[in-house]
Symmetry: C2
Subunit: 494 residues, 2 copies
């Protein structure tokens, strides 16, 4: 190999190694692909091998570029990519260092499709994917398989393994105050399936009596669930939500079979249903013999004040409680569960049987093994602490970059709800966000939807900023990008 | 503890240890539960710990009973239970030894619910659950997680991960001649879900044009799929099947949107669709613009002659091919896939999205890792060899215990199809099987269903004997039990 084809950071050159002084031994080869990609890979390898560890400072871009005899742009581009992946972090005041949890990030290498991977993933609902406890999951898989009999490898019970259901019933009781026995649990492939199964039950019940099924849903609310219920053939009746959650007083006086509600942390406005509204909701359901579907999509994450117990505990005979591992572990697991009133059990079990024969026994046993070992609770607790800190940092940063926005809703969940100045056009937020490669949600809350009195008034442009999957190192940058996006979306820019 | 409360097989007593001479150190304690259960557990522990290894002979029941100072019945009962679980095997000519794969069995301990666990599980469809490659699955889980980016832990693509789909497309091409590209694959939670999704597509298509959806199904056929389609709102039109598979000439001349067929190994009669029938089937589908659903439920298992390639290869634009890991690995995985014509892709992707948001990324990546490593193919090959041998042994044994039965269908799959003497009453088979604690299927094939000419004539009582999950050591005993069952079900018993 010719000498000019290789560029090496010499071990004895201080610029070629981190402040800790260990040898980086980075070698770039011309003609073997883009140099910045090679540098990225070399840094990932150094982190993977332990030559670079969490928190270690990296050489300045200028110094490393000189050392490797490449243009400074090569180093800048490599660092930027690794910062975006949270493998590296920018240091307040300048400089770059190895991230807090570099191994998990470096392991992942480059995202499969960088074109569709946003620079900042601020979608609500997405938890910190890099924090998924990969090692613990593998160990739990092994434990689960060791504990499973051969008979448990046959077709599972449609509502789930009895032992798993008992574990999940206890967990929901402990974590959320749900009143449940193993027999009340239906293991599903996530909340999308849970909603679909309940929707099917409502449709079939209505069909049996020749009626048209209808369900009350929050407006604004989670759009996918509404669409799913409509696809199943139900008429969705909008009931306004405000900063205090579902406007229970606005529920229709009959004509619907059920109501879908997010009591602990209304999606998307963030409100928590008060004791008065909860009582009124149960009263309404009893009067109209309606089913209440409680979507407890992020009930584990509460950062201040008392965590409200699940609404299900107020009336287990009328509330279908939906839980999910998508926000606590990873969306990719496709694992959730329902706690269902005795009167709905057999119909929901039947619906689940015909939907897919029951959820994967291995996945549900692995989740149960994780819960039984205590690893699940530990992971939730650690995640909660991390999200709480990140939420605080993000609010601090946004106070600077978006001084005119007002935070609303409970201190809970994986997203901030920000009421923007009146002159912000939501459509222009979407455009500006695309320009900045930021994935987020913005909605226009109608006056009717948020007419809950002065305290609850929210009507206007609302921005949802998910921070679950936002690396800590990118909080300030993301806040700056959000500031630019909102400015660009105002009719009277600063 | 009083001396008379403990019974120990002394290490220096030859009867207390296997022929190999290693110390069994079995201790039974009176008052600590049934003695035969204690002995079972002690033997399981000895196998688990490696003190007893595969093939080792055990002491004669009389000897071990004397040694432990218990009645011989205690030892007989313990041995019988462990033989039933395939932990132990009976030796031709008498005696008992440790089974071939004792660790997997002993690990499983006692089935969770012995009351509902049959003595012989002869249901069709159930593969050898004790052969599930537990270690390989755990390793593949670890490999899959190592290879997954954080982004792959988010909501999966509704039709499955692109890399997984490419792997499954190649596998189906290699193993079954399916003509597929990654884009043609929809990963599902097993064939029950696949059928449901196709049923939903057919229903929605018919609804869009104001028609009533209908599908032709084999009679006899797989009852669950028919019920699932009917539950989805389709009218199921029976088309007779005979020993040559679906009677293609009997397909209705219009009025149905699709046909569900098992070309490689008709369920339950075992026939293989001839080249002529295949061509006629594709011709019929083309003429009537109908979709063909090919349920290739056990296409991997062919024991003689050439394996027919999948029907899908004859007309990829019209055939939906259903594959499953339920017969090759374990039903509990809930994992299958479809290869779908381009014209159905987006509708099926949408149906899958709303059904559950996509199948668990971890499970599909683990299956793909197993395939890529070659472990999946090896497991299928080994299973095929084992099933082939077992099938031969079972046929030999049944020739003695059921001399009047006639085997029909291709040498394929996980079950035998036996045409029983005319005077057997199917209802009495079910009763007798329950008495013998044997799980099986028996059906009455109507004259109309099997009127395919002399060669194909099957009308009458038909017994399906699944041997996938029948331990080799129990083949003779199961055959004897089947002989007793059939005798009891005859109107003119021997």
């Amino acid at each position: 190999m010719r000498k000019d084809q290789k560029r090496t950071a010499e071990p004895d050159h201080p610029a070629g190694r981190p402040a800790g002084g260990r040898d980086l031994a980075i070698t770039l080869t011309r003609g073997a692909g883009p140099l910045h990609r090679q540098l990225e890979d070399a840094l990932r390898a150094a982190i993977r091998d332990g030559r670079l560890t969490a928190g270690e400072p990296l050489p300045a871009t200028r110094t490393l570029a000189a050392d490797l005899d490449v243009s400074r742009g090569v180093v800048v581009e490599a660092y930027a990519q690794l910062v975006a992946e949270a493998v590296l972090q920018t240091v307040p005041g300048g400089g770059t260092r190895v991230g807090d949890r570099p191994a998990a990030h470096a392991r992942a290498a480059r995202p499969a499709d960088p074109l569709t991977t946003p620079r900042y993933d601020l979608r609500p609902f997405v938890p910190e994917l890099s924090a998924f406890p990969r090692r613990a999951w593998i160990d739990a898989t092994a434990r689960a398989l060791r504990g499973m009999t051969d008979a448990q490898l046959a077709l599972p019970h449609p509502t789930g393994d009895a032992g798993v259901r008992a574990t999940l019933a206890r967990y929901s009781g402990r974590a959320r105050g749900v009143r449940a026995h193993a027999d009340d649990v239906v293991v599903t492939s996530g909340s999308m399936q849970s909603i679909r199964l309940v929707g099917e039950l409502l449709r079939r019940r209505a069909e049996r009596v020749g009626a048209a099924p209808a369900i009350a849903v929050e407006a604004p609310g989670f759009p996918l669930h509404r669409l799913s219920l409509e696809r199943e053939g139900l008429r969705a009746v909008s009931v306004p939500a405000d900063a205090g959650g579902l406007r229970v007083d606005a529920l229709p006086d009959g004509g619907v079979d059920a109501v879908l509600v997010t009591p602990a942390h209304q999606f998307p406005l963030g409100g928590e249903l008060s004791a008065e509204r909860r009582a009124a909701l149960i009263g309404w359901a009893t009067t109209h013999d309606a089913i209440v579907i409680e979507d407890d999509y992020d009930g584990e994450y509460r950062y201040a004040g008392d965590t409200p117990t699940a609404l299900q505990a107020d009336e287990p005979d009328r509330v279908v409680y939906l839980a999910t591992a998508s926000k606590t572990l990873a969306t990719a697991l496709r694992l959730g569960w329902m706690v269902v009133p005795p009167a709905l059990r057999s119909e929901l079990a039947e619906a689940k049987l015909w939907a897919d024969g029951g959820s994967s026994a291995l996945v549900q046993q692995t989740l149960a093994a994780l819960v039984v070992s205590g690893a699940y609770d530990r992971h939730v607790r650690r995640s909660r602490d991390r999200y709480r800190r990140r939420r605080g940092r993000l609010l601090d940063a946004l106070a600077v970059t978006m001084p005119d926005a007002r935070t609303v809703g409970a201190e809970a969940g994986l997203h901030l709800t920000l009421r923007l100045p009146d002159d912000v056009a939501v459509a222009r937020i979407w455009t500006a966000a695309a320009d900045e490669s930021v994935a987020l949600m913005a909605i226009d809350v109608g006056a009717d939807e948020a007419s809950g009195g002065d305290d609850h008034q929210l009507a206007g442009p609302v921005l949802l900023v998910g921070f679950g999957n936002l690396p800590d190192a990118l909080v300030d940058d993301a806040a700056a990008a959000l500031g630019r996006i909102v400015t660009a979306a105002r009719s009277r820019p600063y």
